[in-house]
């Protein structure tokens, strides 16, 4: 298959004509999306625009009704979600997804266990053999500022720390492309600052595609922005281009209930 974006070097992820129909509702409608390597690409749009559904399609948690997804030059449209994750395309969730009953260290160790250790089916071995992963886990947790919480239960962390833990867990998989669904939602100002710094650092060597409502963060962080409305791409470009697009301006004014400020 040849197309403008399939040169393989520039774009990590390309989606073409991505469509998802939920019983008549076109939640995602013919979306084209190309994510450039080592960039931060933001997906914005009012509530219900189809951003989370897009993420679910890209990570195969949902099967597209139509369209193709190419990741690192490979057609991944029909892969299983775990298989995509194993290839380095890893997502986070809109609702914080930590393993609440486990300690902070165990959360990260569980991710390392799959990637580094590879003995996850060993039911006859003592889990003490996982101790060798702890140095790397501690290192990852230091990177997100959680070194003082190693043995705390993840469920007991404040919200912002949970998101940080989620990012550390995701990074433990050494992903090439991170999909972050509203990583800053519900955070206080201090956590927002810390987490957006973290995302910036992460993106120095990796690619980030993120859904975010906090427009000032989107403006400072992202290299490219795609605006979705009612499942379709409304505009795409850098922040200046997008914010002056008449269609986008109109969509903002026409949406009194959305969460922009």
């Amino acid at each position: 298959m040849t197309s403008r974006h399939d040169d393989g070097a520039d774009y990590v992820l390309t989606a073409k004509g991505l469509t998802k129909v939920f019983g008549g509702i076109r939640a995602v409608d013919n979306v084209d999306l190309s994510v450039r390597r080592n960039s931060i690409h933001a997906l914005i749009g009012p509530n219900g625009a189809g951003k989370t559904t897009c993420f679910n399609l890209l990570t195969k948690f949902l099967t597209p009704s139509k369209g193709t997804i190419t990741y690192e030059g490979e057609d991944v449209t029909n892969l299983a979600p775990a298989a995509i994750a194993q290839k380095g395309l890893v997502r986070s969730f809109q609702i914080s997804a930590v393993f609440g009953g486990m300690t902070v260290l165990e959360n990260v160790r569980l991710a390392l266990q799959r990637r580094v250790h590879g003995r996850s089916f060993d039911f006859w071995r003592s889990s003490k053999c996982l101790n060798s992963l702890e140095d790397e886990a501690v290192q990852l947790l230091e990177d997100v500022g959680l070194e003082d919480f190693l043995h705390d239960r993840a469920a007991d962390l404040p919200y912002g720390r949970k998101r940080a833990l989620e990012i550390a867990t995701t990074l433990a998989l050494d992903p090439r492309l991170l999909l972050l669904d509203e990583p800053l939602a519900g955070m206080g100002q201090e956590d927002i600052g810390r987490t957006s710094d973290l995302i910036k650092r992460v993106a120095e060597t990796r690619t980030v595609l993120m859904v975010e409502h906090n427009l000032s963060v989107v403006a400072t962080l992202s290299d490219r922005i795609t605006v979705l409305a009612r499942g379709a791409v409304l505009a795409e470009g850098n922040y200046a281009e997008v914010s002056e697009d008449p269609a986008v301006v109109e969509a903002y004014i026409g949406e009194p209930n959305d969460t922009y400020d």
Binding site: T59, F61, A80, P81, A82, A83, A85, Q86, V90, R91, S92, F93, A97, V98, F99, G100, G101, M102, T103, E106, R109, L110, A111, Q113, R114, R115, H117, R119, S120, F121, D122, F123, W124, R125, S126, S127, C129, L130, D148, F149, L150, H151, D152, P158, T169, L173
Partner: protein
């Protein structure tokens, strides 16, 4: 949170967290104590209880633990575990009676049969969830039941009777309850230790993760269906260990062992004892088996009492007996 509070919090966190978890060592110590108590019980029990009764207890405790591995640790509610328990009982009986195999081989054969059944049923059932999963496992178990009812080799309504306990390794006489008791004890201990290891293995960690947050495990690249299937197979195999042993204890494999009420009973034992706890199923099995034993002369009233106990348990302590005790002691048992 104020800056100052934040700072004090951080320092206490350092003190709490730097020495690799004390809590875990404490928990392990608790487990060792319980293991010691169980060991003590099985050694002195024949002094004041009928060996056959204790052996029955141990078989059902093993069965409930195997079931709990699926429900409590795998998050899978099977309503067809009688198929593995009863199927294995027939398998062990057949091997001992028709082929004249010694008990260790007859039981090993029973485990194998149950594991193969578990792999087959699990493969077909694992894709469905919740109540559908329970229904499918029930349907499979009913197939096994009707096979046992009709097939010429199972003895139909009468069951497979006078199953012999041949000599252990072809050498040691096992026909008396005295020596066989110790074989059952060894089987029980091996089963319990094996289960303990599974729960505390890398595989067990993955199960914990799936139970806590399955979508997140998928997004971390775990193929959760495969882990569930392996859980199913291990659980079925251990149910087979219990069923095969039970057939030799009573010299009998019968329709009761494959009937759906047996599947229900093991659910009951697990819930009463505490699902997702390590020792709960042992306690649950003890309660139910003791009740059945001592209230046997009340006939079908036993079922009503059993139901009442179950309702009381579910209403008053949802975590089960051991779950509640663990909560008191602030530990995991």
């Amino acid at each position: 949170m104020s800056k100052q509070a934040e700072t004090t919090n951080r320092t206490t966190a350092i003190h709490q967290s730097r020495p690799p978890s004390d809590a875990r060592a404490r928990m392990t110590r608790h487990h060792m104590i319980v293991f010691a108590l169980i060991g003590l019980f099985v050694v002195i029990a024949p002094q004041f209880l009928y060996p056959v009764f204790v052996m029955k207890l141990l078989c059902f405790a093993l069965f409930a633990m195997a079931f709990n591995l699926m429900l409590g640790f795998g998050g899978l509610l099977s309503f067809g575990h009688a198929a593995f328990f009863g199927g294995a009982a027939y398998a062990a009986g057949y091997a001992a009676k028709v082929w004249g195999w010694p008990p260790e081989l007859a039981i090993a054969f029973a485990v194998l049969v149950a594991a193969v059944m578990g792999a087959a049923f699990g493969f077909l059932a694992i894709k469905s969830r919740g109540i559908y999963f329970a229904m499918i496992t029930l349907a499979f178990a009913q197939m096994v039941y009707f096979y046992a009812l009709q097939a010429p080799i199972t003895g139909g309504e009468d069951g497979m009777q006078s199953i012999p306990r041949n000599a252990l390794f072809g050498l040691v006489d096992m026909s008396g309850d005295g020596p066989f008791y110790w074989m059952v004890v060894v089987i029980f201990i091996i089963g319990v230790l094996f289960m303990y290891r599974v729960i505390h293995s890398p595989f067990g960690e993955v199960l914990k993760g799936i139970r806590e947050n399955e979508p997140r495990m998928i997004s971390l690249g775990y193929q959760v269906q495969r882990y569930k299937l392996l859980t199913f197979v291990i659980s079925a195999a251990l149910s087979g260990l219990a069923g095969g042993t039970k057939a030799l204890v009573f010299h009998l494999a019968s329709l009761v062992d494959v009937h759906w009420t047996m599947s229900g009973e093991v659910v009951l034992m697990t819930l009463i004892g505490g699902m997702g706890t390590i020792f709960g199923p042992i306690v649950g099995a003890t309660v139910i088996v003791t009740m059945q034993n001592y209230l046997a002369n009340l006939g079908s009233l036993v079922l009503i009492i059993q139901g009442a106990v179950f309702i009381v348990c579910v209403l008053t302590f949802r975590e089960g007996i051991v779950g509640v005790i663990a909560k008191w002691l602030k530990t995991r048992l």
